[in-house]
């Protein structure tokens, strides 16, 4: 056995046993963090922080979430729900692939997801009668074979706009975009 081959074996073992390292930008502010914050935040003219928090809990319940944790002194609510992750486009693609593959092997498609959200109410830095509500969503998706296919933040504009539209109705106040 040549030394080159021995070295390559050792290198392979070291690679396999080494731990994957954290991505370099994982805890850095992203260039889009300001836009993300705007998308995820609305301001409300009120002096009643608790009222906003209760309204937020109500909207999350309307959307089928269970409240997991609360800390009203910090204006925090966390909630989660399990939901269907079926995607018609993905399903059509899976059928197409199955046909191409002769139908011998089934193609896994997304089946179920767990969505988590944290809602935070915080006072404005400048005004006493103004509070900010910020919500962030993330999800884990499993396929029909029980494997995790996605773990990600949800940054879909429609989802945030939909949530704040419902929240505004719930608090009977007009939401002001930042």
């Amino acid at each position: 056995m040549s030394w080159r081959r021995i070295c390559s074996y050792i290198g392979l073992v070291c690679l396999v046993s080494a731990c994957a390292s954290i991505p370099t930008n994982a805890l850095k502010l992203s260039p889009t963090s300001y836009e993300d914050r705007q998308l995820q935040t609305r301001g409300y003219e009120t002096r009643d922080e608790l009222k906003l928090l209760i309204a937020g809990a109500g909207v999350l319940q309307d959307l089928g979430y269970a409240i997991d944790e609360t800390e009203k002194s910090l204006g925090l609510l966390t909630a989660s729900k399990r939901a269907d992750a079926f995607d018609a486009g993905q399903f059509a693609g899976a059928i197409f692939l199955s046909v191409l593959g002769g139908g011998g092997q089934s193609v896994a498609i997304d089946k179920e997801q767990k969505i988590r959200a944290s809602l935070v109410v915080s006072p404005s830095h400048n005004r006493e009668d103004y509070f900010l509500v910020r919500i962030t969503f993330q999800r884990v998706v499993w396929d029909t074979q029980g494997r995790v296919t996605r773990i990600e933040s949800i940054n879909d504009r429609d989802i945030y706009q939909g949530f704040f539209s419902k929240l505004s109705k719930a608090v009977f106040l007009e939401a002001h975009s930042l």
């Binding site: 056995m1 050792i10 994982a26 910090l74 935070v120």
Partner: protein, 136 residues
């Protein structure tokens, strides 16, 4: 040839040994790790500091799992093709000083290198409009 395979096997087994029940108390040098993970802020407002930490975590795409003002703890998770779970604690040190400590796990591994913690505290400084001081 056989000798080489025995060595390779021994290396693999030795590496695997760490992944046993000893993991419960495994970790880097305690003093070194605490210095990476801790910063002091010139502030006496614990509540405001905790709100800033929550805001920073949201800026970094975390979803907050739980928080407790009395205990001064916040735990949050980031999902982005990987998982980072982070706990941040705030405690008073003297009359006008708060110690903020963060520790995080990347997937199933504790983050022990200083870089990610420096990045986190840099983001927190921006949010608090304060300078973080290293702790001796």
């Amino acid at each position: 040839m056989r000798f080489i395979f025995i060595i390779l096997l021994a290396v693999t087994v030795l590496n695997a040994c760490v992944a046993t029940r000893d993991q419960a108390i495994a970790g880097a040098s305690q003093v070194e790790l605490r210095s990476y993970q801790t910063r002091a802020f010139e502030s006496s407002d614990k509540k405001k500091t905790m709100r800033s930490i929550i805001s920073t975590l949201q800026d970094l795409n975390f979803v907050v799992d739980k928080a407790d003002l009395d205990l001064g703890t916040i735990t949050a998770t980031k999902l982005s093709g990987y998982q980072i779970r982070m706990t941040v604690t705030v405690r008073e040190k003297g009359e006008n000083r708060l110690l903020v400590r963060a520790n995080a796990q990347y997937n199933n591994r504790t983050i022990e290198e200083p870089g990610p913690y420096q990045d986190f505290f840099m983001a927190l400084e921006k949010s608090m409009f304060l300078t973080a001081h290293a702790v001796d």
